[in-house]
Assembly symmetry: C2
Homo-oligomer: 233 residues x 2
DNA sequence: TTTAATCTAAATCTTTGGATGGACAAAACA
DNA sequence: TGTTTTGTCCATCCAAAGATTTAGATTAAA
């Protein structure tokens, strides 16, 4: 078994550290099922090489000075090729990991990790999976959950939106869709002056000065979650 | 080594399948460092048990009919205790995994997995980490990246924001912070009439009628990502 | 039954916003 | 070199937004 005649996966290496570049290249060349089809120290060059040679996998250092590796990942993803990017980094910073994965990286490996782990990551990604080493995965999730926890918290703590009457909510809803007084009056079948009264009351309760601030307050404090509303404009 | 006098971790089991419940309990009781301090087939009962006994870890079946296990996780997280929840599920559905992790689950384990893997997950979570088996983690990330890909797509397709000059971007930025003409003029050290000119040009380019619509357009089309800006109001 | 909220509405007034058209200098571009 | 873009500024005019006050009708709560 395991005797399929599978095409070798073609790999491109991007790392501004020529030293490290050589090391990784040799390491991968020891593997029978991978071919290093290119190496470069520049992210800009990498983009062009990828367009030309369509490698299966790109090992991308994201701690480069000149052009940011994360930005490079973003550009590569925009190309909509089948190329899979594995981020290579010196840091296990949660924010870095999160951003790399968000941009579409299929893996994230630390430079300090054992070479066997790098090969394993490549194997997994080549097989179509997304691979994050357990330790980094844990980091990622802490960050992920924290960001959602804050989001949930915002919607609780003394939210001025709770003081609005249901009619005021309706009016605010229409405000957050870009309506003016006339438009709101027409949609609610009430007079324009009545709308003005409601809007003024909303300003008082939200402690803002104008409609733009009211809309911003609503959007920043989970108003859409309170009322089931679709996107605006 | 490994000879610390660590307090045993106290575990609560929640599963509407009494059969499975017994099996897991016996499995965990084989471990010297864990105590099962309670079992229940009801999510509602579980919440109360957690309030009373403050277990270190809860194994929560999320495929229960009566009360949704996910909802239970949410309620447990709201209590802000140190209790760590591991989701237990029969399905490796990406959406389920995503939602469980989003709600704060510290782990997600399939019922079909080997018992050794369940114990390993408990070990990791007890040690303060977040644990997702590699296969599920891969599922999670596919879902995660897909959701961000759509978001990124919105920001590409014919985005009117790209037509703005850098000065206009500055002005729009201040608009999205709730400033009026006077405020913007003061902050940019230019006259109010100049601001009006810029704002009018912005309206033209974004094809909107007033500032509120402009702000809404900006927010709905990833303007904040284009410029590095903090929250408004 | 009184009290309090809410929704509605109007009148008046002030401020702000927005449209339009024109002007000029600097910089970028071809 | 001329041409275009950008950023700055002004005046005018009208529309819209917002502040303030007053008040009738309805309904729910005390």
């Amino acid at each position: 078994m395991m005797r399929e005649f599978k095409r070798k996966s073609r790999i491109l290496l991007v790392d501004d550290n020529a030293e490290h570049l050589r090391g990784v290249k040799e390491l991968i060349n020891l593997e029978t099922n991978y071919d290093v089809v290119g190496v470069t120290t520049s992210a800009n060059v990498a983009i062009n090489l990828i367009k030309k040679y369509r490698p299966d996998i790109v090992l991308m250092d994201i701690n480069m000075p000149e052009k940011d590796g994360l930005q490079a990942i973003q550009e590569i993803e925009k190309l909509e090729l089948d190329t899979k990017v594995i981020a290579l980094s010196g840091y296990d910073d949660a924010d870095l990991i999160f951003r790399a994965m968000k941009l579409g990286a299929k893996g994230y490996v630390l430079k300090t990790m054992a070479s066997a782990q790098l090969i394993y990551a490549i194997d997994e990604v080549a097989a179509g999976k997304i691979y994050l080493p357990s330790a980094l995965s844990s980091r990622f999730f802490e960050y992920f959950q924290r960001s959602f926890k804050n989001e949930a918290a915002v919607q609780q703590e003394e939210n001025l939106l709770t003081y609005l009457t249901s009619r005021e909510e309706e009016v605010l809803d229409l405000l957050t869709q870009g309506n003016n007084y006339k438009g709101i009056a027409a949609k609610l079948f009430i007079s324009e002056t009545t709308v003005k009264t409601h809007v003024n009351n909303i300003f008082q309760k939200l402690q803002v000065n104008d409609r733009t601030q009211a809309v911003l307050y609503a959007l920043n404090n989970g108003f859409a979650n309170r009322r089931r509303v679709k996107a605006a404009v």
